[in-house]
């Protein structure tokens, strides 16, 4: 089966996020009010092949923990959908 996976990587809450803080400070000066707790992460989009959904999830989680994120400063979440027309 083929899966479309979107992995969101975010700085962990307790870790300082200078980029988010700078953007938060800049927003009101540009006239965009009402924003708080701005944090900046990234999204990694992949298409992958696996026997089952459970196997796919297992692989993604391992890849995230060991390679795609730095667990000391980032955490991740992901969504996974089966691609149409694949078995």
């Amino acid at each position: 089966m083929k899966f479309e996976v979107a992995i969101d990587v975010m700085p962990r809450r307790e870790i300082s996020d200078p980029q988010g803080q700078t953007i938060e400070r800049a927003l009101p000066t540009l006239g965009f009010d009402g924003f708080e707790s701005v944090r900046v992460g990234k999204r990694i989009a992949v298409v992958m092949e696996a026997e089952t959904e459970a196997q796919a999830r297992d692989i993604i989680e391992q890849a995230c923990q060991r390679f795609l994120t730095n667990p000391q400063i980032e955490h991740f979440s992901y969504s996974l959908t089966v691609m149409q027309g694949t078995t």
């Binding site: 300082s16 200078p18 700078t22 730095n70 000391q72 400063i73």
Partner: protein, 740 residues
């Protein structure tokens, strides 16, 4: 819940230390006070194991304006004050190399800023375990080492480039012992008008205490987490970051805002927040002025909710400075910070009477004599020479010559310890501020100073392998090599700073290495006229009970008039004479040839005569001053062979070397006898050069001539320039996995 008696041990305080705290307070310390004492009396903040040794170092001299004890040492160069500081960020860089190195730069830059100087140059002496290409360690270990190099270099690049301070020098060295414990040392140089030097003093009771910069989070407080209230729950560990993230943008604003505050004459005293955070900055600045301080913790801007008072007090969050201003100036100071978009708050005021009183929304959190926190215990720890020293010294290195000297030379040029590190320094902005007269890749960096007729030359050096074999002599070599590097560009060395990287001081053999290194360094600095302006001690550099090589690193500053042109390291003219200043003996022990070619760490460290070192340095400086030489290059790792090859590569021209009939070929080529320089000059200058050197009791010998497009030495070596250049320039990038 644990009793205070249990707690203090968990916090690393001995029973005696705890009793002393009770004596100072005349009562039991509360949790916050215990936190403050435990951090302030830690090895890192108190130098309790090293202090009795460090005070033996020479620290006075005609050029020294501020010696050890301040944020940075200061030397006088013309009408300017030049600040220098070298620090370590070893452990954080092992945990997370990018952020560890980045925040290391942030810290040392704030040290220099705290004495009133504008940071103008950075240097990074780095030590790692071997790269996979050397095959010295298991593949996975080698790959981890390579990952660390990549991360540390990127972190320095990211932070240093962003704050607009050029990174103009440093070293990258590899030894097996650094696999589990890399050394990331960072040096910063700053400059200020002499009359604008500032001190970490909270003078004038009633003056306001400002905290500038980033918000305070739960950074760097893992060690005292046992103090967290039981109510806080088990998932608390998650709330304490094990990695601190640097914010170079805020650091840049901090630099500019602090300099503007100082230029406007608003600053009574200033101190950076480093180890022990607010506890250290408030108590130390108050104690330095014989005062106390009232601190209102609720005024400290926080990054997250629910922080406990002790966490705010000892947090080591980055990019913060403490500034003392007169009450009438507080508003103006805040508005300057606001102009730069930098957060700033009044968090307290200077108080007479010497007590540090910390409150949080009216309730008393801590009340201690300000001076007591900095007045930690001092230990004279036992020392014991390690048993391995004699065995290592007896090891035979290099008795028989290699089969192919040319191939051996190429192998040395390709070794990560010797090959060009342009892959590293091309990732660093080494030009911003338009002051870099001599760029990375030379013996020493030369920097011009704003509106000054003087320039400074700076080199960082240290040879852990030598120190492992003989810490006394090894530390002397570190000073001597820096002296040589600074002299090779024509500058007169005037002072050093240091970073002393060692293992666990509670082990007598580590303490012996430390004591011997300090003794050696002190003697060398005395003999070469370069007092120690301060430094940093990094203990506990070990993994699984195995310590790093004792690695004292020296950062040396020299001065030269603007009209003296630093010669290039590369040969310049067809037909120029190549000569060696200094004498070559059988000194393969502990050297690069023994390590890289023979795979041996052992033998006797080369003898060093400090008088000869001074004489030869003076002679070379004089030759440069008179404009007699076309090129100069310090002769050290890899000996004459490597040095001459580097001069060929840098100049894009070949050389023919003459045979030596006293030493075996490989010894003559690769011996690392100290106090030597390879110089070149036109034949027409020969008499003048020889006369000058001989007249100064120096030793000079003609060893060859510049020319052609090959490096030739007798029948044994014939290497074309293209091969030499490609080997030297490409090997490091290739070893890092980048074929270019």
């Amino acid at each position: 819940m644990s009793t205070p008696e249990d707690l203090h041990r968990q916090l690393g305080l001995t029973d005696e230390e705890y009793e002393r705290i009770e004596g100072i307070l005349e009562r039991e310390p509360n949790r916050a006070e215990l936190a403050m004492f435990s951090v302030m009396w830690s090895e890192h903040c108190s130098y309790k194991s090293s202090r009795i040794h460090l005070k033996t170092l020479p620290s006075e001299g005609p050029d020294i304006l501020v010696g050890p004890g301040e944020g940075a040492g200061i030397v006088k160069v013309g009408d300017l004050a030049v600040a220098l500081r070298l620090e370590s960020h070893n452990h954080p860089s092992f945990v997370e190399p990018f952020q560890g190195a980045a925040t290391g730069i942030g810290g040392v830059v704030r040290d220099v800023l705290s004495v009133g100087a504008r940071p103008i140059a950075l240097f990074d002496p780095l030590r790692f375990g071997p790269l996979p290409v050397e095959g010295r360690v298991p593949q996975t270990v080698g790959e981890r080492n390579r990952f660390l190099v990549e991360g540390v270099v990127s972190g320095i690049s990211s932070y240093g480039n962003c704050i607009g301070v050029p990174t103009v020098g440093g070293e990258v060295k590899f030894e097996d012992c650094y696999s589990g414990n890399p050394l990331v040392n960072v040096m910063c140089i700053g400059v200020a008008p002499v009359e604008r030097i500032h001190h970490a003093r909270a003078d004038g009771p009633g003056n306001k205490v400002l905290l500038l910069g980033s918000k305070t989070g739960r950074d760097g407080i893992g060690g005292v987490s046992v103090l967290a209230s039981a109510s806080f729950g088990d998932d608390d560990a998650d709330k304490r970051p094990s990695v601190q993230v640097g914010d170079p943008f805020t650091e840049k604003l901090l630099i500019e805002a602090c300099l503007e505050l100082m230029e406007a004459g608003l600053v009574v005293g200033i101190q950076d927040l480093g180890g022990a955070g607010l506890s250290c900055a408030t108590s130390e600045s108050a104690a330095n002025a014989g005062n106390g301080m009232k601190v209102n913790l609720e005024a400290v801007p926080r990054r997250e909710q629910g922080m406990e008072p002790f966490e705010v007090l000892i947090s080591e969050s980055q990019e913060r400075m403490l500034v003392i201003v007169e009450e009438k100036d507080a508003e103006r100071a805040l508005s300057i910070c606001d102009k730069w978009g930098l957060a700033a708050s009044v968090i307290g005021e200077v108080a007479a009477g010497g007590r540090l009183e910390v409150t949080d929304n009216g309730s008393i959190i801590a009340d201690v004599p300000a001076a007591s926190l900095g007045d930690g215990p001092i230990y004279d720890r036992p020392i014991q020479a390690p048993h391995w020293i004699e065995d290592l010294a007896r090891q035979e290195v290099g008795a028989s010559p290699p089969d192919d000297l040319g191939k051996t030379l190429l192998e040395l040029l390709a070794a990560p310890n010797i090959a060009s590190k342009s892959w590293v320094w091309e990732q660093f902005d080494h030009q911003v501020m338009l002051g870099t007269v001599v760029t990375p890749g030379h013996d020493a960096a030369v920097i011009r100073l704003p509106s000054s007729s003087e320039r400074i030359a700076v080199s960082t050096d240290g040879n852990g392998r030598y120190c492992y074999l003989d810490p006394f002599l090894g530390a002397q070599h570190a000073v001597a090599e820096a002296y040589r590097n600074v002299s090779a560009v024509g500058a007169r060395p005037i002072a050093i700073t240091n970073c002393l990287n060692f293992g666990n001081p509670e082990r007598p053999e580590v303490m012996w290495q430390f004591a011997e290194s300090v003794r050696g360094m002190g003697e060398a600095c005395m003999a070469l006229g370069t007092p120690v302006t301060g430094g940093n001690v990094s203990f506990y550099n070990e993994t699984s009970g195995s310590a790093i090589y004792p690695t004292p690193v020296v950062g040396m500053v020299g001065v030269m008039p603007r009209d003296v042109i630093p010669p290039p390291i590369g040969f310049q003219n067809e037909g120029d004479v190549i000569a060696l200043v200094g004498m070559t003996s059988d000194d393969l022990g502990g050297g690069e040839y023994a390590r890289t070619i023979l795979g041996k760490i052992g033998g006797r460290v080369p003898r060093l005569d400090l008088g000869t070192e001074a004489t030869n340095g003076t002679v070379v400086r004089r030759l440069i001053e008179l404009g007699l030489v076309s090129s100069t290059h310090d002769c050290s790792e890899g000996g004459i062979g490597v040095t001459v090859a580097e001069s060929c590569i840098a100049g894009g021209i070949g050389a023919s070397l003459e045979l030596d009939d006293e030493l075996a070929p490989h010894v003559w080529l690769f011996s690392e006898s100290p106090s030597r320089y390879v110089i070149s000059y036109p034949e027409s200058r020969s008499d003048e050069v020889i006369e000058l050197v001989a007249g100064s009791n120096g030793h000079i010998a003609r060893i060859g001539a510049v020319g052609g497009n090959e490096l030739i030495w007798g029948p044994e070596i014939r290497l074309d320039l293209e091969t030499l250049t490609a080997t030297y320039k490409r090997s490091f990038a290739e070893a890092m996995g980048y074929a270019r």
